[in-house]
């Protein structure tokens, strides 16, 4: 176990990067600060690889090693250590978190070029990676929660990185507050767990997961539902998803890292981690999870069909894909959820970075209706984006096909209705992604027309309103790497011949065993074929409407209700400003002013008036006082008499 003792390096390296940058970031300047940060995360990735190799070499049933660093909170019955758990699930998470993070750090060196707070960006990024690693590697719920909160805070920092824009600042606040609602659920779940089991550790003799079978069903259901509230906040499920589209205000690498690949997967990770508790809970819990996941997936997909901003489409797409993962969890297909999480990390990060490359190349233009035919100007971005598109749409043999298919199979086993929702969502996914590809990379060069129009209207000294350009190597290299990963990523869990299910076998010790109805291979092939047909249908519709025709002719396909995301945000705002304000006013003017202040002031008035009345006893005349004395003596005598007993 000697090698594994160095596991603390995994979170420590990004933390060290953070500290160094805080102290000397400004001095290091661009691009050295970025390289330092990237190196820190890259070194962490290498460490994870070493640990992974070590764990693989261990026999399967001993693959859960706890590396304790120090005693953190020894309070009475609660003894929480700062310790890392190295088991298949956590190492898997750590692998792709650090891997994708390294690529995105590299990418950011190019993307954030010229920004005056360059080093600050990497400070936050490193801190984020540290928090995320604490979250996935922790061996107890409390330390995980620390990481959970940490990523939430970093998300806030990074979303509102360009805080001089009020929309960015507002988006940051919205993300943080919505997350807090979820965190509340997590905390309640922790209280329940401690109450039921007496400990917050994952495994071990007092571990929550090892003793999950002993938790009464009602408590277990409550714990699962509360954790799901937390997961819904972090993983943007209905109704706590509202922060994610607004989070696109942050720089694109942030969207790629946090809101596609890592932070939003924390919720799914948590649910998979507590699979033993889910197994001990009643069926209601899993139904709630599955239904919300499916509905979210469909809901978000419909909105994505009508968005013009290149990043907003991807944001809603993320919510939709997370819905798939949650659906998988609810159906008991934990491996499918993790599988999709990994493939999604690859292709969504790829898509986001590609979008960032497009934005960068188009000189900060984000409206797809103003792009077009960029394949001629940004070839590398184009090709890698195509790979991502095919992956997310679920076309074989790319990774997305295998993972999405497994989820749909799991959904079918749970309930054909859920499967149908998933199928429709797959169709819509293919549709809106194809729409995006056609608008951005094909068709006419609409940006040229716009430039011509605006230069007619006023004197435009922006020489940059010239042609788009391809991004530098620091940005395209990660794109290529991710594209390769998205293409061949399916290899880790191919459902062929049973032996190629590497991921499933690898993750087995960490997840609860679920008795799922096994499908015949014929059924699986049938489902897979149906999914592919749905994808092709979506592509075909998009081809007809967006490739052949001009964008302006398709106004009917983008109804206002979808463009405005079913008016959810407007509805919330109306609710808060209407009844919410009434409640607040009542509390302020009636409750606080009259009742509370009235009580306090009333007390003061009472004392003052009482004092004024009592003051009348102080006449100043000695004889009055003597009278008082005499009266007191007589009273004492009387009392003595009473006591003595007549």
């Amino acid at each position: 176990m000697g090698t594994l003792d160095y596991a603390w390096l995994i979170p420590a390296l990004p933390l060290a990067g953070f500290v160094v940058l805080v102290v000397a970031g400004r001095k290091l300047g661009e691009p050295l600060a970025g390289w330092l940060a990237t190196t820190a995360v890259g070194a962490s990735f290498l460490t994870v690889l070493v640990m992974f190799a070590k764990v693989v070499s261990m026999p399967a049933d001993s693959r859960h090693v706890v590396v304790t660093m120090f005693d953190w909170i020894p309070v009475g019955g609660l003894n929480v250590h700062a310790a890392l758990l190295l088991d298949p699930l956590s190492i898997t998470m750590a692998l792709f978190v650090t891997g994708v993070a390294t690529l995105i750090h590299l990418y950011s060196i190019g993307y954030m070029h010229g920004d005056e707070r360059f080093s600050k960006f990497f400070i936050y990024l490193n801190l984020f990676v540290f928090s995320m690693l604490v979250l996935v590697l922790a061996d107890n719920f409390l330390l995980s929660f620390l990481g959970w909160e940490g990523v939430g805070a970093c998300s806030y920092f990074l979303i509102s990185f360009w805080f001089t824009r009020s929309s960015a600042a507002v988006a940051g606040k919205k993300a943080f507050v919505t997350n807090r609602v979820g965190d509340f659920g997590f905390m309640i779940a922790m209280f329940l767990m401690f109450g039921a089991v007496g400990s917050l550790n994952y495994i071990g003799p007092a571990g929550v997961l090892t003793n999950a079978g002993k938790i009464p069903e009602v408590t277990a259901t409550a714990i699962v539902l509360m954790l799901f509230v937390g997961a819904a906040g972090k993983s943007a499920q209905l109704p706590l998803y509202v922060w994610l589209p607004d989070a696109m205000e942050g720089p694109t690498p942030v969207s790629a890292l946090i809101h596609a690949a890592t932070m939003v997967t924390a919720g799914v990770y948590l649910l998979c981690r507590v699979s033993p508790i889910i197994a001990a809970a009643s069926g209601t819990a899993t139904w709630v999870i599955a239904v919300i996941g499916a509905v979210t997936a469909l809901f978000a997909a419909t909105i994505a069909c009508a968005q013009d901003d290149i990043k907003k489409v991807l944001a809603y797409s993320t919510i939709s894909q997370l819905g798939y993962m949650v659906l998988a969890v609810g159906s008991g297909a934990y491996v499918a959820a993790i599988f999709h999480m990994i493939t999604h990390a690859f292709f969504k990060a790829l898509l986001f970075l590609g979008a960032g490359s497009v934005i960068h190349g188009m000189h900060d233009e984000q409206d797809m209706k103003r792009m077009g035919a960029l394949r001629l100007w940004m070839p590398i971005t184009w090709v890698t984006f195509l790979v991502g598109w095919l992956a997310i749409s679920g076309f074989p043999p790319l990774s997305g096909f295998w993972s999405k298919d497994e989820i749909l199979a799991g959904a079918w086993s749970k309930n054909p209705g859920l499967w149908a929702v998933g199928l429709v969502t797959a169709l819509l996914t293919a549709y809106y992604m194809s729409r995006q590809v056609f608008l951005v990379f094909y068709g006419e060069e609409r940006w040229r027309h716009r430039a011509a129009e605006t230069s007619d209207a006023h004197v435009d000294d922006h020489a940059e309103h010239a042609e788009p350009h391809e991004s530098p190597l620091v940005m395209t290299l990660p794109l290529i790497v991710l594209a390769v990963a998205a293409f061949v990523g399916g290899v880790i869990n191919l459902p062929l011949f049973g032996r190629t299910l590497f991921l499933e076998h690898w993750l087995e010790p960490s997840l609860a065993h679920v008795e799922a109805a096994t499908l015949t291979s014929g059924a699986k092939i049938g489902l897979g074929a149906l999914a592919t047909i749905a994808g092709l249908a979506g592509l075909a519709i998009a081809y007809v409407t967006w490739y052949r025709r001009r964008p302006e002719e398709n106004a009917g396909l983008e109804p206002l209700v979808l463009r405005r995301a079913w008016y959810v945000d407007a509805g919330l705002a109306a609710f808060v400003s209407g009844p919410g304000r009434m409640v607040a006013n009542w509390c302020a003017y009636v409750l606080d002013k009259r009742v509370v202040d009235g009580a306090v002031n009333g007390l003061g008035t009472l004392v003052r008036n009482g004092g004024a009345q009592l003051r009348r006893l102080q006449t100043g005349y000695v004889r009055n006082y003597a009278l008082g004395l005499a009266a007191g003596v007589v009273l004492l005598l009387a009392w003595t008499l009473v006591r003595v007993g007549l």
């Binding site: 003051r615 009348r616 006893l617 102080q618 006449t619 100043g620 005349y621 000695v622 004889r623 005499a630």
Partner: protein, 101 residues
């Protein structure tokens, strides 16, 4: 054989009451002081009576001390009165009401 002590105690009580009444009703400072002396005498009487009833010389010793202290008290009290009421002819206790609340 002497008279039973109860008589003396009753007398002392009545004397005390008269003194208290006088203290509360009269306005002249010196008369008030004299009423205090009356009360002290009543107490002395009762102490001596107890000394006899209980056959304990301690009662008389207390009287001795009361006498001494009363003397000292009168001296200082009159000194104060002199200091306050010097040249204020016809002043009464009611004229000192500056400490009215």
């Amino acid at each position: 054989m002497s008279l039973g002590g109860e008589w003396y105690l009753i007398l002392a009580a009545i004397l005390f009451t008269i003194g208290a009444f006088g203290l509360l009703v009269r306005r002249n400072i010196l008369v008030m002081f004299m009423c205090v002396e009356l009360m002290l005498n009543a107490v002395n009487l009762s102490f001596v009576t107890f000394a006899r009833m209980l056959n304990d010389i301690g009662g008389q010793v207390v009287v001795f001390f009361v006498l001494v202290v009363a003397a000292a008290e009168v001296v200082v009290g009159l000194g104060i009165i002199v200091a306050i009421f010097r040249r204020r002819a016809g002043a009464t206790a009611d004229d000192l009401h500056i400490l009215k609340g």
